[in-house]
């Protein structure tokens, strides 16, 4: 029967063979198909491969930041040092600066060594104190000011070990490394080993890295990303609340309502041009407009959010427009045909159908905003901004704060290698932030996605 069809078929058509055997052309085409599919898989694979590569190196470098070494110190809060007049007046206690607490720490250290029977090659307390973070004095001082009645007693503190000691316990620092280091000596490590044995030194999970504020260059062990996380959060709130509605509104206007005239052309060209403006230029704009002209506070997440909003808008608008464009006109016709207004047809039908693309654009825009540092540089959100937790929503928006990427960028620049690990640790948190956003978007996108 195949012959019969072949004879009847059009002359240019090759004699049709069995379905089970592929003819040469089909084989060729199938090979092309397989290649094409392979390219696609390879492309996805490449993307994922790099992601994994990056993630692995991020995690490997960053995980140590999540543990920290502490030293248990029984500190005698000597009255003669802390409250010379003995009247426990907080104002007077405050007069003793953190430097005044150092002798107490030295003493406590000697005592710990003695109690644990550790031989110390060091005579001077200052040398011994190199094992302890400089933050210890501040910690004890804060405690004393809050509890003046404890003066005279011996209180046990869990103070941070210095970054080199911490590095030693994490395997980052070896004795050889300390050969020419003036911050710590190999002998210190012997002491640490013994103290560790005795249980006075321990490495535990580092909540204060997740919750804390930035610290100065000399105390990486104290630095945390918590406050800048809030900074980022408030900033992203501003970005989300402004850029999504504004971006979608602008796209709807341009795609669905705008008459085709010079003005809309101008807007269109402008938007795609803004996408290509380097982010730091938005920083220049933010400094000029929001801080110098509108007198908004410096270093404030509100301003950061506004600047990032302007930066994200083009991304959202371009992707939203693209997805609005891809909704078939028959859907609009259908809605108009039953007497919906244009506005209704857009908001009831077109927009939901365009939602996956809008969400994608938003996610990419927000991801970009979440990781952006350059514009923040000019509005004062990069640097040392160790503010406290904001004490309210308004202060969250208006008080000086940094943002995660800025914090990470700063850390990555700092000299002490302990900051390097913190930078990567911060990136992990940033990525968790990002993935949370992505998951939300995925869930939303799933609800909207359909083919027709």
């Amino acid at each position: 029967m195949t012959d019969a069809t072949a004879s009847g078929a059009a002359p240019q058509k090759p004699a049709s063979g069995s379905l089970l055997e592929l003819d040469a052309r089909t084989k060729r085409r199938n090979a092309a198909e397989a290649r094409f599919k392979f390219y696609g898989m390879a492309a996805v694979g490449i993307g994922l491969l790099f992601l994994v590569l990056l993630l692995v190196s991020i995690v490997r470098n960053g995980v140590p930041a999540y543990t920290q070494t502490f030293i248990s110190l029984p500190v005698e809060l000597q009255a003669e040092k802390l409250d010379k007049n003995g009247n426990r007046d907080p104002e007077e206690i405050k007069k003793v600066s953190t430097f005044g607490y150092n002798p107490l720490i030295d003493q406590a250290l000697f005592r710990v060594l003695e109690e644990n029977g550790v031989e110390s090659p060091f005579e001077k307390g200052a040398d011994l104190r190199k094992m302890v973070s400089a933050s210890a004095a501040a910690e004890i001082r804060d405690y004393v000011i809050a509890n003046p009645e404890k003066i005279g007693e011996t209180v046990s503190f869990r103070v941070l070990a210095s970054s080199r000691v911490d590095g030693y316990l994490k395997g980052r620092v070896t004795r050889e490394d300390l050969a020419r280091d003036k911050n710590l000596d190999a002998e210190h490590l012997d002491i640490i080993d013994q103290l560790k044995e005795a249980g006075a030194v321990a490495r535990t999970f580092n909540w204060s890295f997740i919750l804390g504020a930035d610290a100065s260059e000399s105390r990486p062990e104290q630095a945390g990303i918590g406050v800048s996380m809030l900074g980022s959060l408030f900033m992203m709130l501003v970005v989300l609340l402004l850029s999504l509605p504004i971006g979608v509104a602008a796209s709807i206007y341009l795609e669905e309502f705008a008459p085709k005239n010079v003005w809309t052309d101008l807007i269109e060209v402008n938007i795609s041009n803004l996408a290509a403006v380097p982010s730091i230029v938005f920083g220049i704009l933010g400094l000029a407009v929001f801080i110098q002209f509108m007198h908004l506070p410096q270093s404030a997440p509100l301003v950061g959010g506004l600047v990032l909003t302007l930066m994200t808008l083009p991304t959202i608008i371009i992707s939203t427009r693209a997805s609005l464009k891809s909704v078939p006109p028959s859907i609009r016709d259908a809605a108009l045909g039953v007497g919906a207004s244009k506005m209704q047809s857009v908001f009831h039908h077109v927009l939901p159908l365009a939602m996956p693309g809008i969400l994608t654009g938003t996610i990419i825009g927000l991801a970009q905003a979440l990781g952006e540092t350059a514009p923040l540089l000019l509005i004062g959100m990069v640097g040392y901004i160790a503010s406290n937790y904001p004490d309210g929503v308004a202060s969250g928006f208006l008080d000086p704060n940094s943002a995660m990427p800025a914090q990470i960028y700063e850390w990555a620049k700092r000299a002490d290698p302990a900051y390097y690990e913190r930078a990567w640790g911060g990136i992990i948190i940033l990525l968790l932030f990002l993935m949370t956003m992505n998951i939300i978007a995925v869930i939303l996108r799933r609800r909207f996605e359909r083919r027709w």
């Binding site: 859907i331 016709d333 809605a335 045909g337 039953v338 919906a340 009831h348």
Partner: protein, 265 residues
Amino acid sequence: MYDSPSLENEVTDKAIKIAADKVQVFYGDTHAIKDVDVQIQDKTVTAFIGPSGCGKSTFLRCLNRMNDTIDICRVQGQILLDGEDIYDKRVDPVQLRAKVGMVFQKPNPFPKSIYDNIAYGPRIHGLAKSKADLDVIVEKSLRRGAIWDEVKDRLHAPGTGLSGGQQQRLCIARAVATEPEVLLMDEPCSALDPIATGQVEELIDELRDSYSVVIVTHSMQQAARVSQKTAFFHLGNLVEYGETSQIFTNPVDPRTESYITGRIG
């Protein structure tokens, strides 16, 4: 051009719902509708017939300004609905379309559930006070669209998962759910089997009692069966317009005659 005496006879009978006056439609440079005058009566079924591509859909879309959505489409001339120019600046096309409903040539259900497809119109027009009301409207519309039995068990399945003919009936049901005064139907029965066609035709007949219906069809029999008036389009011109019986038995224009007698389907 069309048979005016016959029209005169009718005018005494029924009010004129839509009056088109020298309507011209252009798609870019293509002149798709040329100088069409036509008066469509209330409570009447008017059939538009003519060869494919002659401009039936185009003209139909003019009647509720659906052409506004096609960028390159320009309309000239005047179309009066109840004596008011629908292309007047002050006219809100939305209100117009609520009055003049439409069933499109290609079925275009929303990618939503069957229920929502029907309920959408009533919802935006506030035709239902409660969920129960809406349920009633949906059921009634689906029944009128002759599709209730087939979908009553899967009202919440997507409308796009229906067969071609079911989609078409869904679209008909959707259009009648908003209770328009004029219903424009572009080949509503093209994908329907005879039984469903019969049901839709019954619906059209029923609608005629209160509304005006315009129907585009390629089936002469259907035109003859359901319509009182027939308009024959050819190459963008309205060649002849008159009583259906007269058009089919005694056409004035030779083109009409040749189209009708060359009939096959």
